[in-house]
């Protein structure tokens, strides 16, 4: 019942947003509407729908090996979910590399359940009524770190190395428009049209905008998106070729930004415009 109400509110807003021309007035109106709806949604966050779906997917026996994900180790031991998300990306001895949350979930779906990477990478982003399973699962996992501080580890040498590689990727200028991530996210107070661009090179609250509210229910389109999607769409805007889904390049970028977010409070899956 509660979910039905939320869904209707969200769908109404999504329709409203889609029909508006992109002007500052409508952006202001949109922002006001967004704030209003965020208030309504705060006590009944639409992300909870995907949390429930993700929990089901986590517990069910699925895939060619007919196994659940309950033995999946997200860094704190097999099946330990509480606090795992705010400590990812991190180093995993079994793969010998630093992995982000969704990449690790995909890894578990492959090793424990027998799914194929190619199938999972085929349509990895939400669209319309379609939500890929890893997106629901990462939403469920993220929700188990609600109201916890971001504490992404840098104690293993590989974790420090991955941070440095991520930093280099962040500042790497290339492509027909000579952009890097830093072109849009490397200084304070920048804006594209009316969208504020957080400065992810600045440790603390600004950088934490790369972490807080993700995975997020996106009002534009009314779908749940994870950081995998956000990275993909930013590389598109950067005029780069397409990064592999759940690849090490993305894990490195997420490591760089997440470590810069350390100490900030994570409130759980959220709402994004």
């Amino acid at each position: 019942m509660r979910y039905a109400r939320v869904l209707c509110a969200a769908a109404g807003l999504a329709v409203g947003l889609a029909g508006q021309p992109a002007t500052a007035q409508s952006d202001d109106r949109t922002a006001a509407e967004f704030d209003k709806f965020r208030e309504v949604l705060e006590e009944a966050n639409p992300a909870e729908l995907w949390e429930l779906k993700g929990e089901e997917l986590w517990r069910q026996k699925r895939g060619p090996k007919n196994a659940s994900l309950e033995q999946c180790d997200l860094g704190l031991g097999a099946g330990v979910l509480k606090g795992a998300y705010v400590q990812l990306p991190r180093y995993f001895a079994d793969t010998g590399k630093v992995m982000d949350a969704e990449q690790r979930i995909v890894h578990c779906m492959i090793t424990l359940q027998g799914f194929k990477y190619e199938d999972l990478a085929n349509r990895p982003f939400s669209r319309g009524n379609y939500t890929p399973d890893p997106v629901s699962i990462v939403t469920y996992v993220a929700a188990q770190s609600r109201e916890m501080k971001i504490a992404v580890p840098q104690s293993h040498p590989k974790e420090r190395e991955t941070y440095e590689i991520g930093r280099q990727i962040f500042f790497y200028r290339a492509g027909p428009w000579d952009f890097s991530c830093a072109s849009c996210h490397g200084a304070d107070g920048l804006r594209i049209r009316t969208q504020n661009l957080p400065n992810f090179t600045k440790p603390g609250a600004q950088a934490a905008r790369s972490f807080i509210g993700w995975p997020g229910y996106r009002m534009t389109g009314g779908v749940m998106h994870s950081l995998q999607w956000r990275m993909n769409d930013c590389f598109r805007q950067q005029r780069f070729p397409e990064p592999g889904y759940a690849s090490d390049t993305i894990a490195a970028l997420l490591t760089y930004m997440a470590v810069n977010s350390n100490g900030q409070l994570y409130r759980g899956p959220g709402i994004k415009r």
Binding site: E161, W177, G244
Partner: protein, 202 residues
Amino acid sequence: MRKAIVFAGVAAVAAGCATMQDEAAYREQAVAWMKRDFHARGMAKTDRLNQDELQRACTQYNNNPPEALVKRVEAAEMAGIKLPADGKYLGDWKRGQRIASSGRGMTWSDKPGAAGGSCYNCHQLSPQQPSFGTIGPSLRGYGKTRGYTAENRKYVYQRIYNSKAFSMCSTMPRFGHSGTLNEQQIKDVAAYLMDPASPVNQ
């Protein structure tokens, strides 16, 4: 005495130079990872990951390369600008307005040829368009305040064609150099900035 000098040298390497070597090594790894992890999509092929000399230097020097290098590269970028054969730098500001407003072009979801200038993503221009970005300076009233001179018309054309000829590590894309905008499109956007009738100058 000699020992002390050697020791100082080692310390210097450990403190400063080693860090720069590390940076270069990490950058090499970063490039290797990207080349392994990216694939072509639409018009965005993987050769886009290869840096030209300018991109490499701006990355390496954190957008602040040594003066001599800046002079040399800016001169080369300037020499690469193709000026219109008819000697006219301005086109139709109305068409220019559409190009300035369009954020399309060069992404994997764009069709080749369907390109805009994204000018409003980074600049304020016409007072009638309140949705503008702030990565670049405001260009409101540009022609009116700078003066509608022949020199300025040429400068604006060149700026749009290749901003890096004036500021090597500028955030502004090289619209002509990259083949994003053709000669007529650059003229049209230049007119949007420099035509006295354009809303930019009202």
